[in-house]
Symmetry: C2
Subunit: 177 residues, 2 copies
Amino acid sequence: MRLAWLPPKRVLTFANATSPMALNTPQIRAGERRGYEMQQQISVITLGIEAIERSRDFYTRGFGWKPVFENDEIVFYQMNGFVLGTFLKTALETDMGRSGLMQPGAFSLAHNLAREEDVEPLMRQLANSGGRILRPADKPPHGGFRGYVADPDDHAWEIAWNPFWQIDAGGHVIFGL
Amino acid sequence: MRLAWLPPKRVLTFANATSPMALNTPQIRAGERRGYEMQQQISVITLGIEAIERSRDFYTRGFGWKPVFENDEIVFYQMNGFVLGTFLKTALETDMGRSGLMQPGAFSLAHNLAREEDVEPLMRQLANSGGRILRPADKPPHGGFRGYVADPDDHAWEIAWNPFWQIDAGGHVIFGL
């Protein structure tokens, strides 16, 4: 959620926008001979965590989400078109072939709500489930209402109401201005 | 993505799994009086970046993705059910109300491909678009084929073929074993 408060250099019109419908068209890269279909797709977001149960409590009690799979080193959640994984950081480092992953990392995740009045109650619930308020909710210059909460591993979650973005009943989010 | 090589503690059956269909059912939290619909949803992944153009080159040339919106501090990409944002790190820190965000952060993103033979060509293309190979592709113990590439801001991308996960024509990814 943040919308741009600087003037846009380019905004695709609705007809041009890469909507889920548009993604149905295979995108073959010009000049490439491989010909694989280039989807505008992310399949997994994996968060490195220190302790499975502590993280699991935050996501299952705080957000109310249900794992689709879990064992002693990873918990997977089926999300809106992709998968969220919470994976022991040491195991993620091994899989990635690099060490020294740090928190807080230079990224954030967002969960958008349908109603402005739901933002603060969810933030409180997250804080009561092992999270920590980073920024109390307020109105950003571009409109809407949002705050930030850190999960138990210091990963940042923006909890937001943004009246300009569409969210369908299946949780699929479409950019809007 | 990695599948579990440790025995699962719990695997939801297909009927129980939180599929996009299942997400259509509002999840009202037991014992809560607020009654907002708790979607198993992430609306945005925001990556903190140092320079717009450098990052934009990686995502538009490397992955072949098209921005849905861009200005001097942020580029948004409409993804499979959510939005990817690449945002100047200083602006992200201001929005988040915290400083000191670090790279490499303890997370990774994954892009899954339909064919094993597409993994290495995409990794090369990403490396030729400002990325850097972190781990050459190989076969993990749990099956499939994957490697890791860092984007120009040192955010890790897993490029994977996983025959057990479903990806529909719209790019929506469903967990599988």
